[in-house]
């Protein structure tokens, strides 16, 4: 069992590195399918972290939560997204409003900002700094994706990344939420996605495109 312990130790200390890598790749990616794959990779890393925490802290609930994350966020949701993208028959392009260079510099600034923010907080509370900084970075990245990508699908994906970040933040600060709340949150997500999917079809049917920068009627 020594190997498993070593592996869990390594996972716990270094998973934030891989999350930062997914953040960088997400802001650079130019295709929707790449973004979906990166999202599922991100969720897989978070699931691994949940399992590792469960193994170390000997919490049985963590295994259930980890399994839920794995099933829902790594398998079901990306599948649904791929299906949605295929049925919508939109182009593969992400329609970014910033060039890759600007996006990566913004991502670098966001990562630095999240570390700076966590540093002052993390000194008073005993919390793993890297994990919390990764969580904040995910939140910022999700918001950035929603703001700077003009496709409706990317808004949904941004929201999912944001939720990943919040989930991770809750995980690291409280060492796991009670199971009931986790399941509740998951159901919220599922319903939300269902609604967003339906709305995307309606948008496409009404306007014949999915470019949110052209949806300007929301004025007073």
């Amino acid at each position: 069992m020594g190997l498993v312990e070593i592996a869990t130790g390594k996972v716990l200390t270094s998973f934030s590195v891989f999350l930062f890598l997914t953040v960088l790749l997400l802001v650079v990616a130019r295709r929707i399918s790449t973004c979906i794959v990166l999202f599922s990779a991100q969720s897989a890393i978070i699931a691994a972290e949940v399992f590792a925490t469960g193994f170390q802290e000997r919490l049985a609930e963590a295994y259930v939560v980890g399994a839920l994350v794995l099933v829902i966020k790594v398998a079901v949701i990306p599948r649904a997204f791929f299906g949605l993208a295929n049925r919508l028959k939109t182009s593969h392009d992400v329609k970014a409003s910033t060039t890759p260079t600007q996006s990566v510099f913004i991502a670098a600034a966001m990562i630095y900002l999240s570390y700076a923010a966590v540093h002052s907080y993390g000194q008073s509370v005993h919390v793993p700094e890297d994990a919390l900084a990764a969580a904040v970075a995910l939140i910022l990245t999700g918001s950035f994706l929603m703001v700077s990508r003009n496709k409706a699908l990317m808004q949904m994906l941004g929201l999912l990344v944001l939720e990943n970040g919040i989930f991770l933040a809750a995980l690291t600060t409280t060492f796991g939420m009670p199971l009931i709340i986790e399941i509740g949150v998951f159901f919220d997500i599922l319903i939300g996605l269902l609604l967003m999917g339906i709305f995307t079809f309606r948008i496409r049917d009404t306007f014949d495109h999915l470019d949110v920068s052209k949806l300007r009627r929301l004025r007073g």
Binding site: T99, V104, I111
Partner: protein, 313 residues
Amino acid sequence: MKFAINLAQALILILGAPLVRGIIARCKAFLQRRQGASIWRPYSDLAKLFRKEDLVPSTASGVFRVVPCVLFGTTICVATFVPLVQPSALLGSRGDFFLLVYLLALGRFFLSLAGFDGGSAFGGMGASREALVSSLAEAPFLLSLVAVAVLSSHADIAGIAAWTLGQNIFNISAVHILAFTSLAMVVIAETGRMPVDNPTTHLELTMIHEGMVLEYSGPSLAFIEWASAVKLHAMLALLIALFGPWGMATSASVGAISVALLLYSAKVALLIVLLAVIESGVAKLRMYLVPDFLGVASAVSALAVIFTTLVKR
């Protein structure tokens, strides 16, 4: 003894460079379901070029004739900086990475001048594009090396390799991952591989390096081709020495050295296969997308530098 091994390292880098090129070409052929040429083909190419005559354009001046010498000289000098089988090299502990980067810049400067000297449009075009790529690639090159140097508190390549050798291979370091990514992108740009430049092209649309050397022939061309092969080999060896030096011999015994040599060959082979896969898998970037490519490399290397301050807290 150490000196002899260092000398042997430099000679392996220089003499084994065409072989590296040959293996990459063979891998790419395999991926494209062709037979491909033999891996020793670049050597016979060089021999053929040495037998030929040196043709010089009528507009060429002394600069044209001196460029192959300077380019070859600087590249050989760079090859003496990089450790292969032991964490030291001929100039590896005296010269730091700034000197290495700027020696490469010296070679490139003269090569760009050679592009002008032919008096044709291709040369100027190659020089102009090379000016764009190289001026934007310097920053990520230096920043990623700075990130690794700050962590290891050494500025010479041999020192950084020795420090990394002493680290645990299973400790994942964000700085090293980010620095490796950006340095790999810079290596692709500097050595003129896909997706920045196509090394096997003779179409004007896709030329950078080829454009500048278009007017050369005979032994001059042989030295220039050999120099660019040595540069590729040296950069691959640099990547290995900085980011994956485990296996290098710490004692001067024959056994340790041969094991180190085998491991080095395996690592280079891995990098070569990776390079061939990337080259076969992506299309060449449009010229004005290359600044984006290098901009991403700059941002990643800047992030690596920022992370060094976060790690050492």
